[in-house]
């Protein structure tokens, strides 16, 4: 979850409230913002959920609090000036077809505003932008840009930029945080920002590019050019966003525009002019951006009451809505529901239930009070859970220490170290279920049998006193084409007796006690298994069905695990005793 640093004094100033830290944090908690500690410079570290991206800046958070305190009410939409700039879209990479933008003028970035803007940009990239894949933001000093004549406009007015594509080797520019010229390919190979985002573009035949009349100034989604770098002295900004989804980048743009507007910036629209041949769903369209239209949701009054669990009068609901920054159309005509307007920076409202959640936050969920639901049901354990449990109880009664091992393990532990091979037609053999991209070589497959886990526990506890009688009832799995998932999962019962006196008979004795406890018959005809001593291993046959193995572990297996005493062991499928 994103954590941002917020200066509490700046927040108080933007909110216009003189609250002490404790009250401020309590109010934020009720809104869903968690205090994670204080940074060295005194800033609050606040953790946000990724639904309220509009809160990812001190400006957005202050707006939320002002609403909550009733200092502001209803939807606010900033005024915008007419577009002077046009972004022409032509020959873009089909993998990244969309662009949007806005101009913001008259800012003072000399204070903390610039840091706040950079932080907001980073958090938007990490969340909605999906690490810049779905949407990437570029912010530029507008005065450093030179507009070209707008295509198809003969009055000579307006300035244009072009979002297009470029040959990775046939262009040069000076990227941010560098003094040298690079080709785009050199940027993704060598530049410290470029290498971080290289995966987003290296597979593309042509890279995304934005030009002004002077040349290339932005290489989205990787890095901007140094020429247009924003500094504390910048007053007028161009904000551009490129991505794989127009709606997503338009919303990200709205969040940034609201934050800059709260800092006193004047928003000026930008025309996004898609060429008729441009890839994507807007070919031939001209979009007027930012799109600050509100959207509407109809919220039923009785649903508000049923979700929040109490009755409300309409005034309370309307008050809560307005203190959430939402507007409500006149309710006189329709007393049963609310026509609610949602401001353009909200990305999380998909359904009326999201508006009800806002009402709850504004009212204060913790003020509703708990109530035990008047619903009667009958509880019970699953049959398999009871079977596992009684097996475990029986093993414990036989003196076994109950273990709980991981289901994940590696092929060497499961096979080689047990002298077994996946090809063997023996307990533990068979093709294992494998992890695609394992983090650790120790955990690459789901175990096919549990005895290796028990032998590992013995291996890790040779310094502890003997006898060590260990058992586990747990899951194993193997490939099985007849299953819908291609995987057969079983519950297995495994036990080891590590003891200077341990013999086959000791394992057989406990096994037969366990099997007979279920009223089942046990036979153990001789069988061969690579992990066991020949002539001292038997197949576990329960009521005529072959279900496992019992015997004395092979000395080579013992030595492999640094064990210096005999181990008798058994393992069988639990469903055999059902």
């Amino acid at each position: 979850m994103p954590v941002i640093d917020v200066d509490p004094d700046e927040l108080r100033e933007l909110t216009g409230q003189r609250l002490d830290d404790e009250d401020l944090l309590a109010d934020l908690f009720e809104l869903g913002v968690e205090y994670e500690g204080t940074a060295e410079d005194g800033a609050f570290k606040l953790e946000f959920e990724p639904d309220r991206l509009d809160w990812l800046s001190v400006e957005g958070l202050a707006r939320a609090l002002r609403y909550n305190y009733g200092e502001a009410r209803g939807v606010y939409v900033p005024d915008t000036n007419d577009a002077e700039w046009t972004i022409e879209v032509v020959d873009t990479p089909p993998e990244r077809p969309y662009v949007t933008g806005a101009v913001v003028r008259g800012l003072d970035l000399s204070t903390t505003a610039l840091a706040s803007l950079i932080q907001l940009q980073e958090k938007l990239h990490a969340t909605m932008g999906r690490a810049r894949g779905k949407g990437a933001i570029g912010v530029h000093d507008l005065t450093m840009l030179k507009g070209a004549p707008v295509t198809g406009r003969d009055d000579g007015r307006g300035k244009s930029l072009t979002y297009t594509s470029m040959d990775p080797d046939d262009e040069r520019f000076v990227p941010l945080e560098s003094n040298a010229e690079f080709t785009p390919r050199e940027v993704v190979e060598r530049h410290h920002i470029g290498t971080e985002y290289a995966d987003l573009v290296t597979d593309l035949p042509r890279y995304p590019a934005i030009y002004d009349d002077i040349g290339l100034f932005s290489f989205p989604p990787v890095v901007n050019g140094r020429r247009t770098e924003v500094t504390p002295d910048s007053r007028d900004l161009l904000v551009e966003m490129t991505g794989t989804n127009q709606w997503t980048i338009d919303r990200m743009l709205n969040v940034v525009c609201y934050a800059l507007s709260a800092r006193g910036g004047q928003i000026e629209r930008v025309a996004v002019q898609y060429d008729a041949t441009a890839p994507g769903e807007h070919a031939g369209d001209t979009l007027d951006r930012p799109n600050l239209e509100t959207k509407q949701k109809t919220v039923a009054h009785d649903r508000v009451e049923s979700v929040l669990g109490r009755t409300f009068d309409q005034e309370t609901v309307v008050d809560c809505l307005e203190r959430s920054g939402l507007s409500v159309a006149d309710t006189d005509d329709n007393p049963d529901s609310y026509e609610v307007s949602i401001p353009p920076y909200r990305v999380d409202v998909l359904h009326p239930i999201d508006v009800i959640d806002d009402i709850g936050r504004a009212y204060g969920f913790n003020d509703l009070g708990p109530r035990y639901p008047d619903v009667s049901t009958v509880g019970g354990r699953h049959e398999r859970s009871r079977l596992e449990d009684v097996t475990r109880e029986t093993l414990v009664g036989l003196g076994f220490e109950d273990l709980l091992n991981f289901h994940l393990t590696s092929e060497p532990e499961t096979f080689e170290r047990m002298r077994l091979s996946p090809e063997d037609d023996a307990v533990g053999g068979g093709r294992p279920v494998s992890i695609g991209e394992p983090y650790s070589a120790a955990y690459t497959i789901v175990r096919t049998w549990a005895l290796p886990s028990l032998v590992q526990v013995l291996e890790n506890n040779t310094h502890r006193s003997y006898p060590q009688h260990l058992a586990e009832v747990g899951m194993v799995a193997a490939r099985d084409e007849t299953e819908n998932t291609g995987v057969a999962e079983h519950r297995t019962v495994a036990g080891v007796l590590a003891d200077p006196e341990a013999s086959y008979e000791d394992a057989r004795a406990r096994l037969q006690a366990l099997v007979r406890a279920f009223g089942a018959g046990l036979e153990t005809p001789p069988t061969a298994h690579p992990s066991f001593i020949d002539g001292r291993s038997g197949s576990v046959v329960v009521d005529g069905e072959s279900a496992g193995i019992v015997g004395e572990l092979h000395p080579a297996v013992l030595v492999e695990h640094d064990l210096e005493l005999p181990v008798a062991a058994f393992e069988f499928r639990l469903d055999a005793v059902q």
Binding site: F29, D357, F365, P370, E401
Partner: protein, 499 residues
């Protein structure tokens, strides 16, 4: 007749004509007084002796009395010092010093000096009586006698008790006398039975156990360690959680650990480009890769919900939705996949409200192993379905659930989950330390999740890691010690049981 050794000794020492005190018999037979007493009662039960009890009074020196036995009574010491100084009188201060008296002893000496006629005090001078003889002091003699072995029968004991030098104690004296049967038994011959170490089956079946004497053990000593079988502590915690659920009317779910992303994520209205689905900590399988079959009608409903949302003014995600991606297999990252299968009717057929279900099962996460993060952990999952449920019902249920584990003062922080709204992170008060701790995540399932699954009622759910609850309940700090092949058997053998 064979009797245990001690009984033989007591029987032989007892007399038919005279009641003898047990203490005397014990001294004579070299038995411990309690052994002799036990033997006497056993003999009485067999009718061989009669035991009578007699209350007696015992006198004993107090600490002060014992001091005077050593140093002499203060009045005598004053008398002797006075005589040595001058028989016609000496200054009181000098005499007291010479007698080595100080503090309370001075007053005691002066008070008794005159009373017992050792002399007079006049005008600050001590005049000893010349005819007084300390050797005839009966109080000194009685004290000396009490200090000796014999208890004197006569003496100024009332006075000594009054002076706090002697105490009186009531005691019961037991006296033993042979009965006629005892005499007969002795005449018939009595011998000591063998001392035996172990009670054997032979002793029991032959009846010989009646005649043997069991060697005494050191019953206070520590015994050797015993090998115990016991349930794993985390399993004990799981059992406790399950009991709480069942007690609250919840039924238990089971289902596959390897499952299609469709059940793990898509049915939960998790967009396919959600970071949790693309992040490499997801445990995707390379073999096998995909599920064979998903229910086609449900797939279409889920696809529509992701694309268009549900309801008249619902909206979907602006994210691609691909059935092949949904069919990819993974080890479940949460057990909410079981909930999805149950709600869809896939596990047990359609469920009509009301319902309460839970599971305590493993979930998997492809991450680095450290003190608080395991690749596998047990997720506690619970959900309730009813015609109508509110966030207050949710709060009431969780308050009750966590109270069972001593966690109180619940607070609900609004949060975001793709599949619940409203959603809450749960915070509670730690049972030991009192600090505020995060104890789970919860919410009401979104309509975009429930509608495609065909659920027309409200459903609320919550989850947390069993290991987390265990750490809170036991104070364990490193869960690698608890779960997996790195477990230390010493921990399993010595960890306190949970109930």
């Amino acid at each position: 007749m064979q009797l245990p050794e001690a009984q033989v000794a007591v029987l032989r020492a007892a007399d038919a004509q005279e009641d003898r005190p047990i203490t005397e018999i014990a001294a004579e037979t070299s038995l411990k007084p309690e052994t002799a007493t036990g033997a006497a009662f056993a003999l009485e039960e067999a009718g061989l002796v009669a035991v009578t009890e007699e209350p007696t009074e015992r006198l004993a020196l107090t600490a002060e009395g014992r001091r005077y036995v050593e140093a002499g009574l203060p009045e005598i010491r004053l008398h002797e010092a006075a005589r040595e100084a001058d028989e016609t009188g000496a200054a009181i201060g000098a005499v007291v010093d010479a007698a080595g008296l100080d503090g309370d002893a001075v007053d005691i000496a002066l008070a008794n000096f005159a009373r017992k006629g050792y002399g007079e005090i006049e005008r600050g001078e001590v005049r000893p009586a010349s005819d007084a003889d300390p050797d005839e002091d009966t109080e000194a003699a009685a004290l000396a006698a009490l200090a000796g072995d014999e208890e004197p029968s006569e003496g100024p004991f009332d006075r000594l008790v009054e002076r706090g030098l002697v105490t009186r104690r009531e005691e019961t004296r037991r006296l033993v006398a042979l009965t006629d049967e005892g005499v007969t038994a002795l005449m018939g011959g009595v011998e000591a039975a063998d001392r035996v170490d172990r009670l054997t089956p032979e002793l029991l079946t032959s009846g010989e156990w009646r005649d043997v004497d069991f060697a005494e053990y050191n019953v206070a000593a520590e015994a050797p360690a015993v090998q115990t079988g016991r349930k794993h502590p985390l399993r004990q915690m799981a059992d406790r959680v399950k009991n709480v659920f069942v007690g609250m009317g919840f039924e238990e779910m089971q289902g596959p650990a390897v499952d299609a992303d469709f059940w793990i994520h898509d049915c939960l209205f998790m967009p396919q480009d959600h970071p949790a689905r693309t992040h490499w900590d997801r445990f995707a399988l390379s073999e096998p890769e995909s599920i064979d079959e998903l229910p086609p009608a449900l797939v279409e409903r889920v696809r529509t919900a992701h694309r268009d949302g549900v309801g008249p003014d619902g909206e979907g995600y602006r994210s691609p939705w691909d059935e092949a991606f949904a069919a990819r297999l993974a080890l479940r990252g949460h057990t909410t996949s079981l909930t999805a299968r149950h709600l869809a009717g896939e596990a047990l057929g359609d469920l009509e409200p009301p319902q309460r279900w839970f599971s305590v099962q493993k979930a998997y996460r492809n991450d680095e192993l450290d003190a608080t993060h395991l690749l596998e952990f047990y997720q506690i999952e619970g959900w309730v379905m009813a015609e109508e449920l509110s966030v207050r019902d949710l709060m009431g249920t969780f308050t009750e659930f966590y109270r069972q584990f001593g966690i109180t003062d619940l607070e609900f922080k609004p949060t975001y989950n793709p599949y619940t709204e409203p959603s809450f992170e749960l915070f509670g008060r730690h049972p030991e330390t009192g600090e505020r701790i995060e104890i789970g995540n919860s919410g009401l399932f979104r309509p975009e999740m429930l509608e495609p699954l065909g659920v027309e009622a409200d459903v609320m759910a919550w989850g947390l890691a069993l290991e987390r609850l265990m750490m809170l309940a036991t104070g364990a700090e490193d869960i690698r010690d608890v779960h997996g092949t790195l477990v230390d058997l010493e921990y399993l053998r010595t960890e306190e049981v949970l109930y």
